[in-house]
Point group: C3
Chain length 108, copies 3
């Protein structure tokens, strides 16, 4: 068994949950916050059989979309009101995916 | 050291935290959401010595209870109001338990 | 790639996020609750290259501070109002750090 842990954008997470569930996978979602934007996103956990990991990743690829976000040039979480108009584009990934080996799996 | 990660029902989580703490374990709880019911549950993290993993699992077995939930036959999160009266029974486990090897553990 | 997972005190988490981001790391934060105090803390996730783990831990050491908390002698989460005045000191760590091996890492 492997754990697929993926940080995804909130805008995609309902589709992620639905697609994985429809594929017969069990999935759990956790609300999280990104360290750079300091905005909400989601961390999705999907423990599955080794042979199904490729499919879980394929589903994530299909459903999660990269987007470009404009952020103020001097990104300072303390600076809520912008005094200058300078922005830069940052690409936010569809998903950051981590796969871990599960040593022991039990459902009780 | 191993990490025991368990998804448990909210109705059992206070008992889980209390029982593990009383057993001398350290435990952290995270609010989570199930992909199927789209309802709140909890993900509990307990990092412990290899030889104590069996006991942590035994505590979870004792304190977490399987329950049967009635859900509408056409489970569609978008369909808030039921037009038909057809239900099906779904068993929700006491706990889904994943054990991981911790490569390095430090308390600072 | 390794996952550094650290439970830190909420009072330190903004500094943790800022310091790790400034060090070029990507980091995700999750709101969590301690099993003993039943109070909020944060679980920080930082997936990074093997050779950068030591630096991530060094940043956590620098930014997270141990503190002493006074708690009522008969810590009973159900007892909100204290009838006696007996307290004991509990040391809360700067951080509890777990490092896991990531079998597969992908950004899509
Ligand atoms: N230290 C830094 N220096 C320069 N640019 C930075 C940076 N940290 C993040 N960014 C950029 O900002 C985007 C949003 O990052 P955030 O930390 O809010 O939100 C992140 C974070 O919550 C999570 N994440 C990504 N990689 C991670 C990792 N290695 N470990 C833990 N969480 C990660 O996934 C979200 C999206 O990440 P993604 O890489 O697609 O997109 C990132 C990346 O393009
Ligand atoms: N391998 C895994 N990886 C990650 N998280 C896992 C997991 N196995 C279980 N979980 C988590 O534990 C909760 C209870 O799962 P359980 O299998 O006991 O009870 C499940 C199961 O009986 C059923 N179910 C879940 N997904 C299904 C699916 N794709 N097809 C059919 N039935 C499903 O609905 C119940 C509630 O599921 P829900 O998703 O709301 O909530 C799940 C989910 O949050
Ligand atoms: N092995 C582990 N696995 C999972 N999570 C872990 C962990 N070790 C620490 N944590 C997390 O880090 C927080 C701080 O733990 P620390 O050991 O520094 O500081 C702890 C410790 O000094 C004490 N403590 C915790 N559990 C205890 C127990 N079963 N018996 C006696 N003292 C306990 O109370 C402080 C606050 O604990 P609290 O549970 O509220 O909050 C804990 C918990 O959320």
């Amino acid at each position: 068994m492997k754990l697929v842990m993926a940080v995804v954008q909130d805008i995609d997470v309902d589709a992620v949950m639905g697609a994985l569930t429809e594929a017969g996978e069990r999935v759990t979602r956790i609300a999280s916050t990104g360290g750079f934007f300091r905005q909400g996103n989601s961390t999705v956990l999907c423990a599955t059989e080794d042979k199904r990991v490729d499919n879980v990743i394929a589903v994530l690829k299909k459903v999660c979309h990269r987007r470009t976000r404009l952020i103020p040039v001097s990104l300072d979480p303390g600076e809520a009101i912008l005094t200058s108009g300078a922005y830069t584009e940052v690409t936010v990934g569809g998903a950051t995916i981590l796969v871990f080996d599960i040593e022991r799996f039990a459902q009780i």
